[in-house]
């Protein structure tokens, strides 16, 4: 098995990377002194932050895998159906109306609900009433809803106070420090449940890459599976966006790289992407808070700048071709 080495390396790398992320602090290397109260608090913060990175990275990568398979499009990513713009609008409303100050759940909750609402609108707009929507009409209505949400967001930002604009912008850039452990728990549950459901649909996803009609011939209820898979993928994306804001690149590139490393079979691809995507994002976040300390740079910047070249090299190696260029 060619992929055995990949799994061995991944198993060994996981604790190593998590340990590395935990010792990376904005003030220096090393574990904080857990004997002191502040040291204990700092460690708690770091642990929840690393966990958040793992969960969000896993969610975005899994969603990316599913979107690319179902839409049969190499450019597909978790935000393709307008989830990002919808969540951004929801978050902006929560921030600018002052709703977010009431409860820690308000901001991620608003973002999540807005994202879910966006997905529902997209499906509604794409379907013609009789049949389930086609992939193309889904993408098209995703683009439309997304532009509308962005315009409203821009309008709100342009009329908001300077303070509000700063908060909204900062949220949009993405931040992996969860507001509370309970939010992390809720997000984690949604992502893990969604991920497992998607993984159980692996065989159907494999068949769907042959096209909707061929999947039908192979005995799959294509419409149902497509709708369920897209809904699940969007749900975990919405959960991730709700807690961490908009983090790009992970959901697009990690699936491609994993396809090169473990092949296109989703039974392997989904877990591999989840683990690797989580580790990648946690690592990027550790770098983001250390490299210009005490200033923290947005993690989305690191994912693209550090991840880009690294992944390009892997894609170039073509050890196992993942996506057939045509």
């Amino acid at each position: 098995m060619k992929t055995r080495w990949f799994w061995i390396i991944l198993t060994l790398a996981t604790p190593l990377i998590i340990w590395f992320c935990l010792i990376m602090g904005s003030t220096g290397f090393g574990f904080p002194d857990t004997a002191t109260f502040s040291g204990k608090a700092i460690l708690d913060l770091r642990i929840s932050r690393v966990l958040c990175g793992l969960i969000v990275g896993a969610a975005l990568s899994c969603a990316g895998v599913v979107f690319q398979a179902v839409l049969r499009n190499p450019l597909a990513e978790p935000y393709i159906l307008g989830v990002s713009s919808g969540a951004g609008l929801g978050a902006a409303i929560a921030i600018l109306t002052g709703l977010s100050t009431f409860s820690g759940f308000a901001l991620p909750g608003a973002a999540f609900i807005a994202a879910a609402l966006t997905l529902w609108l997209v499906f509604l707009l794409a379907s013609d009433g009789q049949h389930a929507p086609s992939v193309y009409s889904l993408i098209l209505s995703g683009v439309i809803i997304s532009s509308i949400a962005s315009s409203i967001l821009m309008f709100m930002v342009s009329t908001a106070s300077l303070e509000g604009v700063h908060s909204v912008l900062w949220w949009l850039l993405g931040n992996l420090q969860p507001a509370s452990p309970r939010i992390l728990q809720a997000t984690g549950s949604v992502v893990i449940a969604g991920g497992i459901i998607l993984w159980l649909m692996s065989r159907e996803l494999n068949a769907l890459t042959l096209g909707r009609e061929m999947a039908h011939h192979l005995g799959i209820r294509s419409q149902l599976v497509i709708t369920l898979a897209l809904a699940m993928a969007t749900l975990i994306t919405a959960a991730a966006v709700g807690i961490a804001g908009l983090i790009g690149f992970v959901g697009l590139i990690v699936p491609h790289v994993m396809r090169h490393l473990v092949g296109p079979d989703h039974r392997r691809l989904i877990p591999a992407s989840a683990i690797a995507g989580g580790l990648f994002l946690a690592l990027c976040d550790a770098i983001a808070r250390r490299v210009m300390a005490p200033i923290e740079i947005p993690v989305g910047v690191v994912t693209a700048i550090c991840g880009g070249p690294f992944f390009l090299i892997i894609l170039r190696l073509k050890r196992k071709q993942g996506w057939v260029a045509s």
């Binding site: 065989r203 039908h216 192979l218 296109p264």
Partner: protein
């Protein structure tokens, strides 16, 4: 007899525009049948309806006795495997992985494929001869290999019936034949029912014992290839003149479309008689026919190359039995043709004692005043003991017959003739 497929008064099509108003037929289990028809006749619509992709507007479709619209998807996949015209995936699946995808409906969501599943895909790959390609990426295969892999994938479903949508249309003749032979063997040895939609009349005729010809959303003919693929039926279906012959190797029906003469219609139906034989007349007959002349030919021996060509072109011939000298009776029918001809061409046919009598026809034509054209190299083709072909040709030439050198020259001279 148990039926694999029953269609009862099926109305099918898209939205408010039914392609089929009312179509009924049955396919017995174990049959190998082709659905033929011109572009736009509804072949693809019919296949999409049979696979359940397109729910019928009315009527009833039964698969092995079960109503198609009541069948759960997974059960349907174990009854019918579908081989599309061309399958593509953006993912780099290996052939083995692709064939395993064929087991999707049979596999449990909660467990790995069992040893039995591996045995099934192994067998499918052996049957379609892709076992040596199993580790190759599917997308890197050639067209023929790819189609065999797709058949292996369909076989991995362990279906009782195979529906194929123009499975050979992207393949060259060798690979098309290979694919059909695999399918034919599956049909013969495993009793797999095969129903294929095809454009290729000849391939369908060679492999299928029954063909359904559809045209404009209705069943035009149904039966063995020899009774369905006839000139009048095909001309009606395809709006095109065709010739039906038998394949000299397999004996199956071969359909050839006849090109219409678009450019040169100078012939305008003028009658022209050609003296030919041994293949000498072939290009002349064809050129004159395509230019729109009403061509007659003779006297020829049956089974002579020229007589085969003449038959294929639908040219009226005066015929003699094979390898026999030309008899008085055959000469009579030849004279009758020449009598009605406006011109006469003597091709580069070699003359011997058996056929030199044909020159009498040229003399007859000249006597009644119609132009005669004679190939100019009679010296090299005269095998009569007394050199009479040469002397008779000389006489014809002195009496006004025109010599011609090659086919362009001949066509030009014929065209200028009043």
């Amino acid at each position: 007899m148990s039926f694999a497929l029953e269609l009862k008064n099926v109305r099918a099509g898209y939205h408010d525009k039914p392609i089929f108003e009312d179509i009924s037929f049955t396919v017995a289990a174990g049959e190998m049948t082709a659905i033929l028809g011109p572009n736009g006749a509804g072949k693809t619509t019919l296949l999409r309806t049979l696979t359940g992709l397109l729910p019928p507007v009315g009527g009833e479709i039964r698969l092995f006795g079960e109503k198609l619209n009541r069948l759960p998807a997974a059960v349907r996949a174990r009854l019918v495997g579908v081989v599309p015209q061309d399958l593509d995936t953006p993912m780099a699946f290996t052939v083995r992985e692709m064939v395993m995808i064929g087991r999707t409906a049979a596999l449990s969501r909660w467990s790995r494929p069992t040893a039995e599943d591996f045995k099934i895909i192994e067998r499918s790959m052996v049957y379609t001869d892709v076992i040596d390609l199993q580790e190759r990426p599917f997308s890197e295969l050639s067209g023929g290999e790819r189609q065999r892999a797709v058949i292996a994938m369909a076989l991995a479903q362990q279906p009782k019936m195979l529906l194929m949508d123009e499975p050979t249309s992207h393949l060259d003749m060798n690979h098309g034949l290979e694919v059909m032979q695999i399918v034919e063997r599956l049909n013969r040895e495993q009793g797999l029912t095969v129903l294929m939609v095809s454009h290729d009349l000849n391939l369908a005729a060679a492999f299928c014992r029954r063909v359904l010809l559809i045209e404009n959303g209705r069943l035009l003919a149904d039966g063995p290839p020899a009774t369905v693929l006839t000139e009048p039926i095909l001309q009606q279906a395809y709006q095109c003149e065709v010739r039906v012959q038998n394949n000299p190797v397999s004996g199956s029906v071969v359909v050839t479309p006849v090109p219409r003469a678009w450019h040169d219609t100078t012939g305008a139906g003028r009658r022209i008689h050609v003296i030919a034989g041994g293949g000498a007349g072939e290009p002349i007959l064809r050129a004159l026919y395509l230019a729109g002349y009403t061509v007659t030919c003779g006297v020829l021996n049956q089974r002579d190359t020229d007589s085969d060509v003449a038959t294929a072109l639908g040219i009226e011939c005066a015929l003699e039995k094979p390898f026999s000298p030309i008899s008085t009776a055959a000469m009579e029918s030849g004279r009758a043709l020449v009598q009605r001809a406006a011109m006469l061409v003597v091709s580069s046919v070699p003359f011997g004692p058996g056929n030199v009598i044909n020159l009498e026809l040229a003399e007859q034509a000249q006597a009644k005043g119609c132009p005669v054209f004679i190939r100019d190299d009679i010296e090299s083709r005269d095998y009569t003991p007394d050199r009479q072909a040469r002397s008779r040709t000389a006489t014809l030439l002195t009496h006004g017959a025109q010599p011609w050198h090659d086919i362009t020259d001949l066509m030009e001279k014929v065209r200028q003739c009043p």
